[in-house]
Amino acid sequence: MKTLDKNNFVVYKYSGEKGTQLDAPAFKSAIFEFIESNPKKIIVIDLSGVEYVDSSFLGVLVAAYKEANSRDQEIVISGLTDMVSSVFESTRLYTVFRIIKSVEEI
């Protein structure tokens, strides 16, 4: 995981190629800790290196969304690959998250 800290947002770069039930527990711990330790208004989760996600991983994203909301922060998803983008579309999560191509769009 790498972070890019700007004035009003901070980026969490997910480093795995897959986001599945095997990765979800560690990701959940990491992203919750990241949210807690970064009081920035916007938390960008960069998934540009991810080729595939499942419902467990998406569940963590949803949980992170709720956690950030409770802290008056916003989770923004960036860098979706075509395959992951199609999963967001199928699960209608694109209606929940603000999705951007890169942090320049913030």
């Binding site: 039930q21 095997l22 419902s55 569940g59 075509d82 395959m83 999963v87 699960t91």
Partner: protein, 194 residues
């Protein structure tokens, strides 16, 4: 023309990639002539669908062995997933979308037959589980009706995998068959050629 292919696997994570990739190979000849964007979307959905089916068997059904039967037709594929173990447990969500505590396992009691239970709830959709008889269930997702402002904030991953399965598949059914096996079945349509 119909082709039937059966694959039997141990219910362990190590074969997850194998089954998702195998399914893609099995139907590859059926999705020629579609645009690249549709192909990518369809492939992503297929991978997700198979992933959710198989991980459900591993994580929730308590299965040791999983058999997939694919009946490949002209316009769609019938998918059956047959497992051992106790089978599907109905766990309705509460009206505030938190996970409920009531559990119904097969064989389903008489008073449950023809009843419907909501097993997944999100801001826009709900997944309904209808008890057809003591051993059979039917699942479908439907758009929610009137919603209050606060309900728009509801987001709960409970049975999220099942939501994905009902969203990507059609005629989704579960049956505890006469041999005590759990048969989960659904239909997956092929995208039309351009």
């Amino acid at each position: 023309m119909s082709h039937r292919i059966s694959i039997v696997l141990p219910a362990i994570n190590e074969y997850l990639e194998f089954i998702t990739e195998s399914f893609e190979h099995l139907i590859k000849h059926k999705i020629k002539g579609i645009s690249d964007s549709v192909r990518v979307k369809f492939a992503g959905e297929n991978k997700l669908l198979m992933h959710e089916l198989y991980t459900n068997a591993i994580n929730h059904a308590g299965s040791k062995v999983v058999e997939f039967i694919f009946d490949i037709k002209d316009d769609y594929v019938d998918i059956q997933m047959i497992t051992d173990g106790p089978g599907f447990t109905i766990k309705p969500v509460n009206s505030d979308s938190t996970p409920g505590t009531t559990l119904h396992r097969p064989p389903f009691a008489n008073h449950l037959i023809q009843n419907e239970f909501i097993v997944h709830l999100d801001p826009d959709y709900e997944v309904v589980c209808k008890v057809l008889d003591s051993t059979k269930l039917e699942f479908y997702d439907r758009e929610r009706g009137d919603k209050t402002e606060s309900e728009m904030d509801l987001l709960i991953p409970e049975h999220f995998g099942l939501f994905i399965i009902t969203n990507l598949g059609k005629n989704v059914k579960f049956e505890k068959d006469s041999e005590g096996r759990n048969v989960f079945q659904l239909k997956r349509k092929f995208p039309p050629a351009k």
